[in-house]
Every structure is written in structure tokens, then in C-alpha cells.
């Protein structure tokens, strides 16, 4: 197996009295794509935020390449550069053009030359078909375009691991696909990714491993086929049931495939 990039041991996160993550253990290896699913409020976003040192933690340890991540510490500031994160809300900087959004951190944080960063940004933008938007402002883009730019912005820092928190959840349905395609492409390039999503067919297609988080703990962990076809725990079965039910309804409307039925 490839080297571990990210190691999480016995992670505990509390908001006041409320224990949100209760001893999470997770190791992510180089090139792995892990999809995290789970009911609303189970702590998926919190887990990603802890990994990116946006939250302080009450117990356990998070290591990136063996170095400990802790909110507020000087070393975490450096480690953060190796972690790319894309949020659900459109978080581009509204006062900067698309190109400046992408090159700001490479230039100011990594002290790269502006021309080099811009050249790379243009290559990445070309790849996602948005080269002509380089000098537009975020307000001139659609939601899907904004999220794709946000992904490129994270990529341009050359992160070793990418975190995605429901990046398509706020999008109109017709824009979901273009963003997921970009993420699929990244997975094919061998990027290491940790993805929170409720797009189950996408999860199935992209994941090397699916993690089911419930009540602050990893309840089940399996290959996607395994997880979606034969969930072992009752809680996972119940969770997936909600989605299959969705698909039955769609089938009744006459626009669904055969296989979705099979694991009801």
C-alpha cells in the first residue's frame, strides 16, 4: 500500500457540551479517494474543518506526513498550504478577478513569481474550460463556474490532499455535473482526496473507499460496491434506504435505471 499521508487517531471534537466527533480513526494513503457519507449533523463538515485546522480539537491527534496539525500553531499554518479545501458556499473573493483569486495564495504565501502562478492558473482554467473567464469577477460567473474556479484555486497551491465539503450542494441541478466531472478528472490523475457528498452515484464512481459516519463515529468503512450493495450495519442500511427510496420514486416517474432497484 502507498505511504500514508494523513493519519487521524482518536479524534475528539466538542462544541461546549456537545461531542460532535467521538474518537475518529482514519488513515488516508497517497492517491486514495475517500468519500465520507452520513446523515445531516453527523460531523462530516466538522471532520474536514478539524483536518484543515479551522477548529481546535479536544482530543486525539491529526498528522499530515507525521507532522501534527493543531489550530493556531505556527507549523499548522505551513501544513495548511499542503491541504486544499473547497467549501459548499461559494467562497471566491468577490473583489478579485478569477485569475487573482487563483494566484493570490501562490504569490503571497508560497512567494512564487506572479507570472509563473498566472501561467499555471491559465493552464488549469483552460483544462476546465474557463480560460475566457480569467479576468471576470466572481459575480459574473454561474454557481458551477464559481465552484470549478474554487477547485482550481485550491489546486494551484499544489496540495497533497484535497478536501471537498458538499461542493455541489448549493448548486442548481444542471450545474452539478460539470463540477463532479472536474473532481472525477482529479481522481483519475491520482490526486488524494477526501470528499463529503450526498451524490451517491458519484460517490460510487469516484471512491476507493467509502466511510459512513454517524453520531460522531465511523460506523462502516468499505469499498464502494460493497458499501452500496451490501451495507453491513443497520444504521448504514437505514441511511442508504432513504436514497433508494428516492430512486424508486424516480423509477415510478419512468426515468431510472434497473440497478438502482436491486439493492432495495
Amino acid at each position: 500500500m502507498a505511504e500514508p499521508i494523513l493519519e487521524i487517531e482518536q479524534l475528539i471534537k466538542e462544541y461546549g457540551q456537545n461531542r460532535v466527533l467521538d474518537g475518529v480513526n482514519l488513515t488516508v494513503h497517497k492517491g486514495e479517494v475517500i468519500v465520507i457519507v452520513g446523515p445531516s449533523g453527523c460531523g462530516k463538515s466538522t471532520l474536514l474543518r478539524c483536518i484543515n485546522a479551522l477548529e481546535d480539537i479536544q482530543g486525539g491527534i491529526i498528522r499530515l506526513h507525521g507532522e501534527e496539525i493543531q489550530k493556531g500553531s505556527a507549523s499548522s499554518q505551513k501544513l495548511r498550504q499542503k491541504i486544499g479545501m473547497v467549501f459548499q458556499s461559494y467562497d471566491l473573493f468577490p473583489h478579485l478577478t478569477v485569475l487573482d483569486n487563483i494566484t493570490l495564495a501562490p504569490v503571497k504565501v508560497q512567494k512564487r513569481k506572479k507570472e509563473d502562478a498566472a501561467k499555471e492558473a491559465m493552464e488549469l482554467l483552460t483544462r476546465i474550460g474557463l480560460a475566457d473567464k480569467a479576468n471576470s469577477y466572481p459575480r459574473q460567473l454561474s454557481g458551477g463556474q464559481k465552484q470549478r474556479v474554487a477547485i482550481v484555486r485550491a489546486l494551484c497551491m499544489h496540495p497533497e490532499i484535497l478536501l471537498f465539503d458538499e461542493v455541489t450542494a448549493a448548486l442548481d441541478p444542471e450545474m452539478v455535473r460539470e463540477v463532479l466531472d472536474v473532481m472525477l478528472d482529479l481522481a483519475r490523475q491520482g490526486k488524494t482526496m477526501l470528499i463529503v457528498t450526498h451524490e451517491m452515484s458519484f460517490a460510487r464512481a469516484v471512491a476507493d473507499r467509502v466511510i459512513f459516519l454517524d453520531q460522531g463515529n465511523i460506523v462502516e468503512e468499505a469499498k464502494p460496491e460493497e458499501f452500496f450493495e451490501h451495507p453491513k450495519t443497520e444504521r448504514a442500511q437505514k441511511f442508504l434506504h432513504v436514497f433508494s427510496f428516492d430512486q424508486v420514486k424516480k423509477q415510478e416517474e419512468g426515468n431510472c435505471s434497473e440497478q438502482s432497484e436491486s439493492h432495495l
Binding site: S89, F93, H95, A105, R153
Partner: protein
């Protein structure tokens, strides 16, 4: 054509005096705003800190200044300081002090509003990219705050210019006072001068404030 009595303005140095009066009004408001902006930024930033005491003090300051009519503040500072503390302030200095007190409160409120209107995820996505706290302020938060602030503070300048018409009450000879003096002096020769002179005063206020509000509107459009 009715006799508006505008001709009194062309007698002697009357028009020049009126313009000087306008300059006094502009001087008071420009100096005041120049001092109010930095102070207002500090007060506004203080209003967003977590410390309850600091928050409470700045809140009380803001409310008191806002509730109090500017004229009362002017009397308080101008007559009050003379009587109570034995300091003799010129009318203009007293006006500037009052306008700074007022401008700082208003500016502070604008700054606070601009700061809290920056969504939390702007801070977070900046930090997630590895920017330090000070880089986040320098490149992300302050530029966005200024964009929201500039049109609003320009509007404050025009409000100040208009409010300077009150300072004649403490003996500052600004445009409105000059106008009154001109009308008084020509009461016999042009009894109708009041309308014409005040009309000119109106036009002059308009000419002073209009370009400024146009600028504010332009910036607002450009950055929205």
C-alpha cells in the same frame, strides 16, 4: 419678472463673502471628516471585538451622539466649555470638535456594519489557502471593507456639509450667516433680496454636494 433682489450679491464684495462662507462650511466638514475617518475606523473595529465592556462603551457613545440633536451638542461644547472649564474655544474649533464627535460615531457605525457584513467563509477560505491572519486582513478583509465603506463615508461628507448650516448658531460666519448679513444690510434698498440670496445659497450648497454624491454613486455602482 419678479424682483428677486439677486443684484445685491453683485454689490461690493458680497458674492466673494458668500463664497468665503461656503469655504468655511467646507473647511469645517472636510477637517472633521479627515479626523473622523481614522477615529471611526478604530471605534468601528472596537465595536466588533468580543470584550463586552469595550463593546458597551462604544455602543453608548454611538447612541448618545446619535440621539442628541447636533445643535445641543454645539451649544454644550461651545458655551459649556467656556463656562465650566474656562476654556475659550473659537466657534469654528467648537464646531470641528462637535463634527468630529458626530462623524466618529457615524463612521464607527459604518465601519462596524462593513466589517460584520463580510461573511465568515471569507476569513476561512483565506486561512484555508494558508494566508496568515494579517495577510487575510490585508488582502481580503480590508479591501472588501473599504469598497463598502467609501461610498457611505462620502455620503457622510455631504451630510456634514449640509449640517454646517447649524454652526451660525454659535457665531461662526459661514455661508448662511453671510447671506443673512447681506440681506440685513440691504433691507432698505432691496427689501425682496431674501428670496434671491437664499436661492443662490441653495444653488451653492447643491454645487458643493452634488459632485460628491455623484462620486459616491459612481463608486457604489463600480464596486457593487
Amino acid at each position: 419678472m419678479p424682483d428677486l433682489g439677486i443684484e445685491v450679491l453683485f454689490k461690493g464684495t458680497n458674492m466673494l463673502r458668500l463664497l468665503q462662507g461656503l469655504w468655511v462650511a467646507m473647511r469645517i466638514s472636510l477637517i472633521s471628516i479627515a479626523v473622523s475617518i481614522p477615529l471611526g475606523i478604530i471605534v468601528g473595529a472596537l465595536m466588533t471585538v468580543k470584550n463586552m465592556a469595550v463593546k458597551a462603551v462604544s455602543k453608548v457613545y454611538l447612541e448618545v451622539i446619535r440621539i442628541m440633536p447636533q445643535l445641543v451638542l454645539l451649544f454644550l461644547v461651545y458655551f459649556g466649555t467656556t463656562r465650566a472649564m474656562g476654556i475659550n474655544l473659537s466657534g469654528e474649533l467648537a464646531s470641528i470638535i462637535v463634527f468630529v464627535l458626530w462623524g466618529t460615531a457615524e463612521m464607527g457605525d459604518l465601519v462596524r456594519g462593513a466589517l460584520i457584513s463580510i461573511p465568515k467563509h471569507q476569513y476561512e477560505s483565506s486561512q484555508a489557502l494558508g494566508l496568515t491572519k494579517s495577510q487575510t486582513y490585508l488582502y481580503i478583509i480590508i479591501p472588501q471593507t473599504l469598497r463598502r465603506l467609501l461610498p457611505l463615508s462620502i455620503n457622510l461628507i455631504t451630510r456634514m456639509i449640509k449640517t454646517t448650516s447649524l454652526v451660525l448658531m454659535i457665531g461662526v460666519v459661514e455661508m448662511l450667516k453671510v447671506a443673512q448679513q447681506i440681506i440685513e444690510a440691504n433691507r432698505m434698498s432691496s427689501p425682496n433680496a431674501a428670496f434671491g440670496v437664499f436661492l443662490v445659497v441653495f444653488v451653492l450648497y447643491f454645487l458643493a454636494c452634488w459632485p460628491i454624491s455623484m462620486l459616491a454613486r459612481y463608486l457604489e455602482k463600480k464596486w457593487s
